[in-house]
Every structure is written in structure tokens, then in C-alpha cells.
Symmetry: none
Subunit: 197 residues, 4 copies
DNA sequence: TATGAATGAGCGTTCATTCAT
DNA sequence: TATGAATGAACGCTCATTCAT
């Protein structure tokens, strides 16, 4: 489904994916020429087509790989925590540090690849849904343990994921701290009047 | 930067902008042909170039106009409320109803505007900053009145604005209610155990 | 079906068709670049696509026009004759003189456009079938009048059409005379022994 | 011109020619990829270039070989007959059965060989001339024996060769019989009125 | 001012050919 | 000798932009 079968040089495929990440991140899909990706990888234009059937597939595979890598790193780190509260805190921390280590990821966020075509759009939405469900499950377990109050876990998950955008430019991660944001999400904005009673 | 000087027919310029909004929203930038915009506006293709120097400028001007209109509508409605709490609630409600009235706005979010130039990008960031500050001011006043607890108003504002994304697809506004989200943001996720003590 | 609807300049369409005839005849389909046809017509490459949707359609329309013109000339001249025998003689004469007036037609014969695609192939075969049937009808009428002996009219028609190839290079029309060929076809090769009795 | 000198494995060269025949016949020149020919021959793509300098040369050599083989088979069979009349009848029969045994030969006719260079074209014309002369000689001898009436032997030969096209699609060999065609050629179309007298 | 016919730069993809192994 | 991974020239088609009217 993704590539043309068995390829001679798995390293080259990887190299092309990395170049695709670099160039698509910087310029978006339509503005990127296949030849640019090839040049970035130090290979000929035709070689790209030995590993990917089309520019579109190249983008899809690159995104797949990035998302997989991103989510697997995230999930692995989350798995090391047991406390739902800690999990979410860790998630923010990891997310922010990933963005800092890899500024191109920020750019990647700023592009919207949904427009490539409808199939692509639905694939992206599925991926996002998956991520939301993963976070929602964490929240559910927090509700079970009583650490979180009963709430719409999916909404909370969607909110948390949306809130990651807070760390994108122009409010880079230098502006706000993870702790502040987590505190805000966990305790809310309102003065807990009744609680004080 | 935006137009070629003074045009005799400001109404025609406006009509082109509206058509650009309609078509770009539905099909994205790259997929839209200038001729389609012209047809939608009921004019000839060449006429577009009497009012805008390029397709790209047309998009930028359209985005500028839409954002200005959106923010001014929002700010005006907010001005009608006095209570900070109510203001924020109202903001969500207006946002969601705007999206519902104008589904194209939703689409607008889903397209690739990567080609924006630096000038436009900085304008965009200024506008966003403005909006954040506007919301932050509301929050500040809420803190003054004691309705909100002391918190980083700018962060809260950024969070609120980010959270608007919750109502975009695939979690359309039908999935979540404004009230749920407001409740979550205002009261937080955690069970307020200690507070109850 | 053939063009994109109403075109501004019918003369230009005709000019393109003529250029297509000139270039396709000389170089065949695959070897011909659309830009060459455009250059021959003294127009830009893109202009070709205002009148024809694709290179393939351009070929089809050109062939259609040529065949139509060729057959209509032929049929018209044939209509002026009443005697089946004379009709066939005239057909040869016209065919040969057309080839002489228009050497590109010779080239056109030497290319085989059937391979363009299956649809094209069947269209060509239909055209040829039409032509065969037209000739066969003439022969049938000759049989009715008793000028021709009872024979498979369709086979005779196919033979006659095939025999036109005799005048193609390397045996150009200068080698053989129409009269000789007609005589041969009409009286056969064998010494008419029994007739001598 | 044809190969790169002496090759160790003449059998492999032959094998490649046969594969070229099989694939070019079926798909035409432009549609055939060199790799397909190589695969059909069970060798690597690069190996083809050890025996032929280019795809085009491969085609020319294949055509040469097929034509030579076809003509030599035909001439050999003809040599077995002594009667001119019988020879021609046999020629048709052989031709048709060759086409039936080897449907690819039919296909070979249907493709565009326009790109042949002048050298090849002249070789082709020489071969054709040769064939015509061969048939013409048969006819001459028939005239000598009085079986054929005095006629332009070369024209008759050209006609006979052209008439072979009658058995190509769309009028496949199933439509017409060899006997019918031979009868037509030998006795002509006209009712032999005067002979009846 | 307004038009839309004309233009040609631009790009994704293919595949004949090369060459390192 | 044989291979097949790598290459890049080539081309059909699109569409933003221009300009004669």
C-alpha cells in the first residue's frame, strides 16, 4: 500500500522521508517540488519514484512516519507513568520539548494537509481521532480513580490537544510554562468560592 | 500593498473579495482558479487583476477582510456584556453560531496558507496578539472583580482561543456543547477534594 | 464531443488542424510534440488546448476531417458517374491524383494510428468498414446490371481498397498506370481460355 | 550497425529478438518498455544493451529477422511447387496460415514504425522490391507457359502483395477465403461477355 | 473600464540509458 | 559478462497573467 514492494536500500527510503519532512515542513505540499526533495536527499528526481509511487504518497508516508514516531514516543513515556494526573503533565512536557528539539515540527503544524484530497483528509481525521481517544482513555481512568471529577472525557481530551497550540508561535514555549497551563486546566479559571466554605 | 490605487467601484472590489471567500473556502487556494472567482463575482477574469495584483494578494486581502470582520463582530457583541464571566460565555456562543451560520469559515481553517509572505504573517500575528490581549483584558477584569482566581491572563486567553478549535471538524459543534466547555475551563478537571475540606 | 464548445476563431481551429495534419503526417503520433503543432500554426502551446482537449483528440479530429474531406471528394466525383465500371475507374484516378497533389497523404498512410488506444482503433476500423461498404455497394449495382459477374462484393471492395497501396512508395504512381491496374482487376490474370472457344 | 561486435552467446541475442517480437507485437513500440522485453527473455534490463545499442535498434533488428524468416519460409514453400498458378495459390494459403499460427504477426502490422531511419527504410524497400520481383518472376513464367495472359508482371505482383492486406483485421481471415480471392484475381471482376459469344 | 483569447513557465511522472558492482 | 539501482531528459497539460480590443 505504501511503497512499491521490496526496496534495495531501506536507508535511502529513510533518507528520502527525512528530506520530505524537511521540505514539506518548510514549504507545504503544493509549493514543494519533488525535485527539491530529491536534491535535499542528494539523489536524482527519478529515484524518489523508486521508493514512492507519487508525491502524494510521499507526503502520506512521511506524515505517517512522523506521527507514528511522535505518538510512539509520547505513548511510551506516558506508559512509564501510572498516575493519570502525572501522565497528562508528562504529555505536555514531552510535547513542548519535542517541539523545541525539532522546530520543523512546529512548521508542520502550521501546514494543513487536509486539502490534498478527501481520502487524505479522512485519514488525517482518523489519526487525530485516535490521538483524542488515547488521551480520553487516560482521563477516564482518572475519573475512575476519583482524581478527576466526572466530565466529558472526550471533550477534555480535545481541549487538551487543542491547548497544545498555545505553545506554537507567536506564543512560543518560552512565553508560557507547562506548569501554568496544567494548573489552569486542572483547577479552572474560577475562584473556588464554594470550596472555600 | 493591497490594491492598485483608487478604484472607481469599491463595490466591485468588495464583491470580488466575497467571491474569493466563497470559492477559496470551499476549494482551497491551489485548487481555486482565478476564473472561478471571477465567474462567481459575475465579472471577467481580467477584471480581477484591475483590483488585485495577483491571486496570492487576493487571498491575503480576503483573509484580512474576513478576520477583521470576524473580530469586529465578536468584539462588538462582547461589548454588550459587562460581566467577564458572561463575556466569555458569550464569546463561545457567538463563535460557534458564526461557524454554524457560515460553514465556509470552518473550511477556511482547513486549507494550506503556507505561502503567506512574511509581511502578511506578521500582520496575522499582530491581529492574533490583539485578540489575545482583548480576551486577556476581560480576564484581568474578572480577576479584579474576584470572579476569577489570580492567574496568567494571557495564558488563559491563549488557551481560550486555542480551545475554539474544539468546535472544528472532526469534532463539529454538534459533538460538544459550549456550556460543557465553559464549565470545564472555568472549574477545571480535578475533583476539588482539598477545597471541600 | 470533439471540441470544447463554441470557439472564438473557427479559422484558428482550422489552422491548427492543418498544422496537425502536416506534423502528424511527417512524424507520426508519438514522435509529434504538441508544441511542434503549435509552432507550425504560429501560435502558443496553450492555445491548442483552447480548441482541443488533448493531443489524442487533436489527432482524432484531424483524421476525421481528412477522411471526411477525402471521402466526400471521392463520393462526390463518383456520384457524377452512373456506370459502375466507370465509377471504379474514376475512383482510382481520383485517388492517385489526390496522392500526387498532397504528398503528405502518402505519409499519413504509412503511419498506423490504430495503436493510440482501443477506442481509436475501433473508430478507425469503423471508418474503413464504411468505405468498404460504399465500394461494395457500387459493385453490387454492377452485378445487378450484369456488368460484373456474381462475386463476393465485399471481398472485391476490400481488394480494391488494398490495391490502392500499389501506388504508395516505393512503387509510386509513376511506376504503374491506373488503366493497367483497372484492367488487371477487371479482367483477371488468367488467359481466358474458355472464352476463346 | 546491428550489434556491438561479436557476442559470446548468440543464443541469448536470438532469445532477446524473440522476446522483442513477442512484446513489440502485442503492445507496439512506444508502449513497450525495454524492461518488459528483458523480463520476457528472462534476463536483466542492462543485458539487452550488451547486444543492442538502443531500443530502436532492437526493433529494427527484430523486424529484419522476422521479415527475413517470413520471406524465406514463403520462398522455400513456393520452391516446392512448379506450376505458377499453384505457386500463387500456395502463397496465399501459406500467408494466411502463417497469420493464423502467429497472431502476433497481425499485430505487428498495426503498429507505428514511423521512426525507422532512412537506412532501415531503404533496407525495407529493398526487401519489398525483392519480394515483388520474386512474385513477378513466377508470373512471368506463367505468362511464358500461357497460363497467364500477357500483363505487367510487376504490377500484378504488387497487387498480389497488396491484396494480402485483405486478410488483416477488421476483415480477418475468417471473413474471406483464399479461394475466393484467388478466383477474383485470376478471373477478374467483369462478366466475360465477349468471351461468351 | 472591462474583457477573455492567448501565452508559456512550470511540474509530476516515465523510462531509455548508464555504470558501479 | 550480467545486473538493476540510479539518473535526468522529455512531454502533456494547467492556469496565472497579460494585452489587444
Amino acid at each position: 500500500m505504501s511503497d512499491n514492494g521490496i526496496h534495495p536500500d531501506a536507508g535511502k527510503r529513510q533518507k528520502i522521508l527525512e528530506s520530505a519532512f524537511a521540505v514539506f515542513s518548510q514549504k507545504g505540499y503544493q509549493q514543494t517540488k519533488v525535485e527539491e526533495v530529491a536534491q535535499h536527499a542528494g539523489i536524482g528526481k527519478g529515484t524518489v519514484y523508486l521508493y514512492f509511487t507519487s508525491k502524494e504518497e510521499l507526503l502520506r508516508e512521511m506524515l505517517k512516519a512522523m506521527i507514528k514516531k511522535y505518538l510512539s514516543e509520547l505513548k511510551q513515556k506516558l506508559a512509564e507513568e501510572t498516575d493519570p494526573w502525572a501522565k497528562l503533565k508528562v504529555m505536555y512536557t514531552i510535547h513542548v520539548s519535542l517541539l523545541q528539539e525539532n522546530p520543523s515540527l512546529v512548521q508542520l503544524h502550521l501546514h494543513d494537509f487536509a486539502f490534498v484530497n478527501d481520502q487524505f483528509r479522512s485519514w488525517l481525521e482518523t489519526e487525530k481521532e485516535d490521538f483524542v481517544n488515547h488521551i480520553a482513555a487516560i482521563i477516564e481512568s482518572g475519573i475512575q480513580t476519583g482524581q478527576f471529577r466526572p466530565l466529558n472525557a472526550k471533550l477534555a481530551a480535545a481541549l487538551i490537544i487543542s491547548s497544545l497550540g498555545v505553545f506554537l508561535p507567536p506564543h512560543s514555549s518560552e512565553c508560557f510554562s507547562v506548569d501554568e497551563l496544567v494548573d489552569l486546566l486542572f483547577h479552572g479559571m474560577s475562584r473556588r468560592v464554594s470550596a472555600q466554605a
